[in-house]
Amino acid sequence: MKEEFRSWIMGESDPMEELLDFSQENDLNREERRKLTVEKLRVLQEDPDEQQKVARVRGRFTRFYYLVAVLSCVFLSCVLLFSISMLPQYGEENPRTTEVKDRYIEKGVEETGAVNVVSGMILDYRAFDTLGESHVLFTALICVMILLRIDRKNQRTGYEDYYTIRSDVYYDLSKDSILCTMSRVLLPAIVLYGIYILLNGQNSPGGGFSAGAVLGAGMILFSAAFGMQTADRFFTMKACKVTIFVSLAFYSFAKGYVFFMGANGFENHIPKGTPGAILSGGMILPLDIAVGCVVSVTMFGFYSLFRRGSIGMDVDYAHYSSKPGKAKGGRQV
């Protein structure tokens, strides 16, 4: 007992060794463990008894898993339905609980200058939430860039050449005459429509988020129909970064200014305009444009990153290629 305790303290033995631990990425014994796994797999493939045993355990687990999943979903649904049944009735008038929406509906146009009450609400009354919301998209773009943009760590040797660069040649849809012709007809309409809902967000349903989605879809269609190389001419990594930075910085500072002036009780000197005109709603139009830029660029960025691991030709694929004879050392962005 004493000897065991001593060896445990000194780390010579560990009764709990490997009980819960998963492999460590820098482990020295990685090769050995891999061999063990291969050996286990070989035994499994050759031994029918072992296979049956594994199949049985797996089947039991799967059944248990489905049962628990279904039961918990049913339970949660019942709980939610039960609590919904106890919510206030639809259309019930309680002055305490409806004062917020009443004010938005009754005085929204007058106070924000926007005919579209939703725009007035998200970009004026509750602009702070939308300030955060526009940065959610930016955060998502950064995460996708970290995950998918090709670098020394996430390259799979000999894999990029085939699936990314050459995909533009192999799967180049720009030779497809139906897609090309249709895009020529559709693209102007899509872009015009996007710009229309972008500029008219304060007067009718629309605004930055939806317009950005339409414009982003238009850009994706453009690059699919006319090839990534064509899109690269105007949409590079730098253009993407600058657009996002300028839009978000403008957004932060414009809203920071409004918050600052409002809280300190100063006049903020932003004209509200005539409700219904294009130039109305105070800061709503410029903010919508900023959000629209961020959303469209982010959407196209997602598409480009998922398709070939870069935005524009900012990654020197040859540099990461495993093929012999390619030039070493590439430019960095």
């Binding site: 609980t97 995460c143 910085a249």
Partner: protein, 504 residues
Amino acid sequence: MNIIWNFPLLTIVLSLFSGPLCMMLSAKAAKNYTIAYESLLVGMTGCVLGYTLKTGTAFTYTMGEFPAPWGNEIRAGCLEALIALLFSVVLLCSVTAGYHFVRKDIDDSKINLYFSLLNLLTAALMALTWTNDVFTGYVFLEILTLVSCGILIVREIGRTTLAAVRYMILNLMGSGMFLMSVVLLYDISGHLLMVPMRQSLAQIAQDPASIPAISMAVGIMTIGIAIKSGLFPFYFWMPDTYGRATPTSGAVLSSLVSKAYIFLLFKIFYRAVGIDVIRKTPILQILFVLGICGMIVGSVSALRASNINRMIAFSSAAQIGYIYMGIGIGTVAGFAAALFQIFAHALTKSLLFVTSPYLAQVSGDSLKFKALQGSAQRDPLAGRMFTVGALSMIGIPIFAGFSAKLMFGQAVVLGGVKWKTLVVLAALGISSVLNAIYFIRTLIRIFFEPDSQGKTSKRARPVRDKSRRGYLLAGMVLTILNMFLGLFSWVISDVIYRGLGMFL
């Protein structure tokens, strides 16, 4: 209107602006900018704390020209200011101390993106601390969710991606539950701002028929936050998430992100729903029981770990359990003890997470206990820092962990329900003993080399470059703050009580 009133707004907007800015900068510039900015943040939050302590009142700051029930607002009392100060200090220390490993773990072309994420994380932490609006809480919760996955996958080894996927699925489930609950609460009360919501709910809760709906809404929200912060039984994602991320991320995730979620829950209990309404529901009792389970189960899991980072991560699960137990006690003293535990744990855990990779560095880059033997002799500085963290975790006097445990004990002995007193004292005792077992075992292992074999005595030296000075400085700051919390705990607990006084 004082100039300091604008500081909470500035901390949020400038952090949001720093995110895109760091994307434009080079890696080195982004790092220098982030450190400079975090220092500015420490100054600003310190000013707010000083101001609120001096005036003795909290102030609300209208975001825009529309007043309370219609527009957003943020609110700063000395409790919020203290939490914000803690967040900014720990952020600054983690970034400074872990920069060596940031450069090692992250591809050069992505370091600026990493700092961009850290700045967005700062913005989300600040907004969650200052906000006075439930829906703003949700928006920044979403940013925090995405950012915490981002700073995890940035290491780009297979396991972090796997851990991030699991973390994200659980986290999104938590966010979804939070959003559902916000919708239900808005439907019941008609408000999103916390104070009007509480007034509205207080009136509605007089009718006992409405209690089930309210408790359902708050319960869903509590489960969501519990998943996100890693309360038992949702703690199993912790070791992979905290232990495999780059040290700065591990420190930030374990000591700040989970605390920001808990502070938001705390705010909702106290300010948005009202503690009187919460007491009519069984939520506090459930949290109490789960917290106690977490304390024990987390410690037992830590005991079984064979890798130092897994051990530290599982001990986080135990410490989160302490916090929920404090909330579950239900008295003001219990809440204060839980808040103190937030401080103690944030300062200690960040120190441990930035220290363990330095120990691993002199042990052939392995985090296994076997390899770590004698590593404190090879890197004495890291050994000392680890000792401070470990002693604080166990709860040795003069360190912060001791004061936190003492406050929990006082909270139950000096008031509160009878059965809880005994349970809390027993759980504190058991958990402390378990903590002591695995931390002292680790200390013995890292300080003494086995004398038998000669093969472990290869004297690897720590890498001495410029970033080591940053580690020394940050480690010193964390140690001093830790001992300050341990020796002068009444200073912090006084501020916490005053903050709770002006919290509503």
